[in-house]
């Protein structure tokens, strides 16, 4: 995938729609990221942390039972095996190193399911940064365990009571904090959203998923790329990182959104959170709340690069409902002994459906990014299933 234009555009999407107070900070960040990304010593330091701290490279696992049942070859990129339990650590280690390099000692983040918050708190603890995590009050309640983990890691967790009290509102309050603290504070956005350079920068930090997976899939598939590459999409960071590795492959790219938060599927273009992208909106342009079983995908927007990939037809975006997700979750547990997070269970839910309808023909090779492990969701699922 190409880098964005100088004004941070992927086609018509992206940009830097932030209050004037933050414009200089975004420009400074863009400059710092570009220098760091091209600096071998920064890359070496990051690669070293990814290898010896986060546990990369993560393996690709072939699902033997499930593949047999579905009549396809299903490969999983195991981001659930990262330290802290999801792909979020890839981005956070990069941004925390960048914050240190920029001399910012205060590290703030928003979180939905808590995975990005936990990863941020972890990186801050490791690198000696002060960490503040904004989390919607609703999510604080449904992800109690992650809140406690963040506190153990030394982070302050601020419960956000504005708006719908979920991820969108956590981003609003993190932005409000940053407007007031921009001179001393680094804002670590957890997905491929926000003003330029965040969507590009976060994709670059996450592309390790796709770059590794491309090579690993070829080992399984006699040098071939998979027919279909699938990832779940809220803001879309694991999908962006995955797709980046396969953009020039012949593989069909599929992003899977929750049906109650399908910004690419049901949204329209708008300008929120610093970017022009697709958002769920009412007829006046007020942003609507996203609803799904997974807090991590409860975002009414999507990263601008995904809006662009949809517009040019390079990737397609499908949606699944909560019931399909629960079935997919249980099926992966029972057939492969892998407990996925509810977020990547969306990707699997689409695969199960598409195999049934024939959209994925028998004999296809399919690679799916399993973006995180499901331990955080067990209590909620126990309640639902009982």
């Amino acid at each position: 995938m190409e880098p964005p234009t100088e004004s941070g555009r992927f086609g018509d999407f992206g940009g830097r729609f932030v209050p004037e107070s933050l414009v200089p900070a975004c420009l400074e960040l863009e400059q710092a990221f570009n220098v760091a990304w091209n600096d071998p010593s920064f890359r070496h330091e990051l690669d070293d942390l990814l290898k010896h701290y986060a546990g990369r490279p993560t393996p690709v696992t072939e699902c033997r039972q499930l593949s047999d049942q579905l009549g396809i070859r299903l490969l999983l990129k195991r981001e659930d095996l990262n330290h802290t339990g999801s792909h979020k650590i890839n981005n956070v280690l990069g941004q925390a190193l960048l914050a240190k390099r920029m001399g910012k000692r205060r590290f703030i983040a928003e979180t939905g399911a808590g995975q990005h918050g936990v990863a941020s708190a972890t990186a801050a603890a490791l690198l000696g940064l002060e960490c503040v995590v904004y989390m919607g009050e609703v999510d604080v309640k449904r992800q109690e365990l992650n809140v406690f983990r963040m506190k153990l890691l030394g982070a302050e967790v601020i419960s956000v009571t504005s708006g719908a009290r979920t991820l969108k509102d956590a981003i609003n309050d993190a932005l409000r904090d940053w407007v007031a603290s921009v001179e001393s504070t680094y804002y670590c956005i957890g997905s491929v959203v926000g003003p330029h350079p965040y969507p590009f920068m976060v994709r670059q930090f996450q592309r390790v998923i796709g770059d590794e997976a491309r090579v690993q899939c070829q080992e399984y598939l006699n040098g071939e790329d998979p027919d279909i590459v699938v990832a779940c999409v809220g803001g879309g960071s694991n999908a962006a990182g995955t797709f980046a590795g396969f953009a020039d492959a012949r593989s069909r790219l599929v992003g899977v959104e929750p049906s109650g938060g399908a910004a690419n599927g049901k949204g329209v273009a708008g300008i929120v959170h610093g970017m022009r992208s697709n958002f769920l909106q009412d007829e006046s342009g007020q942003i609507e709340e996203a609803h799904s079983i997974s807090a991590g995908l409860d975002y009414p927007g999507v990263g601008p690069e995904h809006a662009y990939l949809a517009a040019i037809g390079r990737a397609t975006y499908e949606s699944v409902n909560d019931a399909e997700v629960l079935l997919a979750f249980q099926r992966l547990c029972a057939t492969e002994g892998i407990l996925p997070a509810l977020e990547p269970a969306h990707a699997l839910a689409w695969i199960l459906r598409a195999c049934e309808t024939g959209e994925i023909p028998r004999g296809s090779t399919v690679m799916m990014t399993l973006s995180g492990r499901g331990d955080k969701d067990v209590a909620e699922i126990m309640e639902i299933l009982n």
Binding site: S7, G15, R16, F17, V18, P19, E20, S21, L22, V23, P24, A25, S162, G163, K168, D169, N172, L175, R176, V179, A180, S181, V182, E183, V268, A269, G270, I271, V272, H273, G274, R276, F279, Q281, S284, G285, Q286, I287
Partner: protein, 268 residues
């Protein structure tokens, strides 16, 4: 100044400024209560030089808790951009009205259509705090074509070279954000408010108004030592949320008017 036309927001503000008096621009959230139009009338009568009407948005990132609460209340009452504009259409309170809102509501309607409908409602200006200069060209062209003054904002973090460009592009007045932070009341005037006003005065002939954090008459006087005037939002909205009504709103703005006029009477 020969190469630029003076718009409907700038003209009266410039006239007052040139007379030696200071400017007060109060902010009220459109659709806040049934009587919000009465509040607009009362503010004008109390000596406001222009009135900033907020079109409430679901995700107001430049606003602190008070204006967020006002936005929620207005939205819960069913307020829409169109309902605010319709209620303002044909209103003549003797001073210009500028709308303040977020870019998505303008973009959703379409820049062209929104500029035309603001102009049709006799609205003089528009302030979009999340549309920085680099992204504003298309909107500014549409606003200009519709004779809407598109006000630009500068912040304490704006570098000098950029400050010049923003002041050159701004229409109506220059909105100087007085501190690093979102809207809300503050116990003291931030030193950054005086600094940013002074920096603008050095590079522009437009009226320079400081907003964000201007909480009472005393603070307004302090700021106007450097600025041409103040925008007063949260301090007024808090009173309205507490039930002050049009009279209470007028009393508060009259207090600021009096304090500024005592220090800077006309003709000096």
């Amino acid at each position: 100044m020969s190469d630029r036309t003076i718009g409907p927001l700038e003209r009266p503000l410039r006239a007052v400024r040139d007379s030696g008096r200071k400017l007060i621009v109060p902010y009220v959230t459109g659709g806040l209560d049934d009587n919000w139009i009465d509040v607009v009338h009362a503010l004008a009568e109390a000596g406001a030089n222009a009135i900033e009407v907020g079109i409430p948005f679901s995700d107001p990132v430049m606003d602190g808790p008070i204006i967020q609460a006002a936005s929620v209340r207005a939205l819960e009452r069913g307020t829409t951009p169109q309902s605010v504009i319709s209620e303002l259409a044909g209103l003549d309170v003797g001073v210009p009205i500028a709308v303040m809102t977020y870019t998505n509501l303008i973009a959703h309607a379409g820049y062209h259509r929104m500029a035309q409908s603001l102009a049709a409602a006799n609205i003089a200006g528009a302030i979009l705090p999340d549309l920085p200069l680099d992204e504003a060209a298309e909107w500014m062209a549409e606003a200009s074509a519709a004779t809407i003054d598109a006000v630009q904002l500068v912040a304490p973090t704006t570098p000098d070279e950029r400050l010049v460009r923003i002041c050159e592009a701004s229409k109506g007045f220059v909105y100087a954000v007085g501190l690093l932070g979102v809207t809300g009341e503050r116990t003291e005037v931030a030193s950054s408010a005086l600094v940013i006003a002074r920096r603008c005065q050095l590079v522009t002939d437009l009226p320079v108004l400081v907003g964000v954090g201007v909480s009472n008459a005393e603070q307004a006087v302090t700021i106007c030592e450097e600025a041409d005037g103040v925008v007063v939002g949260s301090a007024l909205i808090r009173r309205l949320l507490d039930g002050a009504g049009p009279e209470g709103a007028a009393d508060f703005i009259s207090e600021i008017r009096l304090a500024l006029d005592q220090r800077w009477p006309a003709g000096e």
